[in-house]
């Protein structure tokens, strides 16, 4: 393991191309200057981080892949699969025409221009200490370029794992969609239970004019993993980006998602679900920037919390002055299933332009007694009625995910969380 200091950055710069060395140095300057959030910052007010990033080390090499009960080859027919272990791209192939895969650590020379144009372009290093650390210490990155007009008819699977205790790793996925290109991705993220790790993934999605991107990412980290993920998508003219976000596992799982509708006529859709139990914390922050005219976006997240778990949804729809004829909506629905659990929902609108249609809605509450009464009047026991409502609540999101393949896994995980809590009388 290497520590998070100047020496590590300098040593990495020795073998890297100069543009990359400069990026790292720049990231390190911010890392040095910024400090860990204390909870007094508005963006971090619900999260308690009781560690320093420097308590952890960056892995030297990729660890041993996790033994898995879900074999991705059974999930769905796929066009390609990539494996990012402890921040290293260990495996990447795709047999669809028009798709180029570039690995930062091993192909820096051969793929220099593609890498230089895509790495470190979208997520600024100064957003927070995690983004700065990512820029300074990320060991590798996977760039997936889908060329102009290429249509990939099966999803590309990206399997991100953290395997080594005591480490902080920086998995990095960059997707560059060419003009009128079309592709789908399933990003699965996990780590073993019982191992203290920090992971700071970044996913950058650049969608050119007329392109269509579908991506589902599922955070299924172990119970002692703190995950702070940054994700950003920019959309060109008449392009479409559809995202699915699933949060099931982590000690603390945070998602910072920015969607920039830059091109006129672009549209985005985000559907998401999270389910916290034990003392889990899920913190979802979604910012949608409407810059172009005639842009539309929809954000729809559902979450549930039981035991002492806590969830946060903070959404901002920002309509910039030139974004006339914007149409946008954000919805967040939360179920609080135990007395000790908490759900916060903070949807915001910032509208700097007239001639727009905007809306937001948010709810926080227990399962509705009226629905329970209806089901029980049909002969279902109380427990059975609760299960039917929980499944129905999440099924709406599961069915709307932009890429299929994870449905059974997510359904089973959601039901398991609730059924085990029910069996132990925790809800």
């Amino acid at each position: 393991m290497r520590s998070l200091d100047q020496t590590t950055v300098e040593r990495a710069a020795e073998t890297a191309p100069s543009w990359l060395g400069d990026l790292r140095q720049n990231g390190f300057r911010y890392f040095d200057k910024l400090s860990m959030p204390t909870g007094s910052e508005e963006e971090w007010r619900y999260v308690n981080l009781d560690f320093e990033l420097s308590d952890f080390g960056v892995p030297d090499v990729a660890g041993i892949p996790l033994v898995t009960d879900t074999d991705f080859s059974e999930l769905t027919e796929y066009a390609g699969i990539a494996r990012l272990i402890d921040g290293f791209v260990v495996d990447a192939f795709c047999d669809a025409p028009g798709v180029t895969l570039a690995k930062l650590a091993t192909q820096a020379e051969a793929m220099d221009s593609l890498l230089e144009q895509s790495v470190g372009q979208m997520i600024p290093a100064d957003v927070d200490i995690f983004a700065a650390a990512h820029r300074a210490f990320a060991t590798d990155a996977l760039v997936v370029e889908v060329s102009n007009g290429a249509v990939v008819d099966r999803p590309i699977i990206v399997d991100i794992q953290t395997t080594q205790a005591g480490t902080v790793s920086f998995p990095h996925l960059i997707v560059v969609m060419g003009v009128n290109a079309e592709a789908s991705f399933i990003v699965s993220m996990r780590s073993p239970d019982g191992q203290r790790t920090v992971v700071v993934p970044q996913i950058e999605l650049s969608v050119a004019d007329g392109a269509r991107l579908n991506l589902v990412s599922s955070q299924n980290w172990g119970n002692e993993t703190t995950a702070v993920m940054h994700q950003r998508m920019t959309l060109g003219r008449d392009s479409t980006g559809r995202l699915g976000e699933i949060g099931l596992g982590a000690q603390m799982g945070r998602l910072d998602l920015d969607i920039d509708l830059v091109g006129n006529g672009s549209s985005s859709e985000l559907v998401g679900l999270y389910f916290g139990d034990g003392e889990q914390v899920f913190d979802y922050r979604v910012v949608v920037n409407h810059h172009g005219k005639n842009t539309r976006s929809d954000v729809f997240l559902k979450g549930a919390v039981e035991d002492e778990a806590e969830s946060v949804f903070t959404g901002l729809l920002k309509i910039w002055p030139d974004a006339t004829r914007t149409s946008t909506f954000e919805t967040n629905r939360n179920l609080v299933l135990s007395d000790g659990a908490k759900a916060h929902s903070v949807p915001n609108l910032e509208i700097l332009c007239d001639d727009v249609v905007c809306g937001h809605g948010s709810t926080v509450g227990p399962l509705e007694e009226e629905h329970m009464y209806y089901l029980m009047s049909r002969g279902l026991s109380r427990e059975r009625a609760q299960r039917v409502l929980i499944r129905g609540f999440f099924d709406e999101m599961i069915q709307r995910m932009p890429v299929s393949g994870l449905e059974d896994q997510v359904r089973a995980a959601v039901t398991d969380k609730f059924v085990s809590a029910q069996a132990e009388g925790r809800v």
């Binding site: 089901l375 049909r378 002969g379 026991s381 059975r384 299960r387 039917v388 039901t415 059924v419």
Partner: protein, 106 residues
């Protein structure tokens, strides 16, 4: 006449959950509870949801869509909204492999 169709080795079936099996024109939900295996028609008699995706509680499976419960051993509908029993299939375990008795669907 019944055909005995081999499904899988017993230890490959997940314990306490269902799997869907399609053979000879039948869609069957097969449940393993320890060393016992039960098989019912997969389509719920109420609204055609897949019982293989349902949860198993003791000796019954709960339909994932509307919560109807069926007796795993007999297929009897134990709760509304289902009122009709599920077709039940004979199962045998020979040499560690699970077999289903299926009639050729006409």
């Amino acid at each position: 006449m019944d055909n005995w169709v081999r499904v899988a080795p017993l230890e490959e079936l997940p314990d306490g959950r269902g799997v869907r099996v399609e053979a000879l024109g039948h869609r069957v939900a097969v449940f393993r509870l320890g060393t016992d295996v039960f098989a019912l028609a997969d389509r719920c008699s109420h609204a055609e949801a897949s019982l293989a995706e349902g949860d198993v509680f003791d000796d019954e499976v709960e339909c994932p869509r509307h919560g109807a419960a069926f007796d795993l051993a007999t297929g009897e509908a134990r709760t509304l909204p289902a009122s009709q029993p599920q077709q039940k299939y004979e199962v045998k375990i020979t040499g560690g492999d699970v077999y289903l008795a299926l009639q050729e669907a006409s």
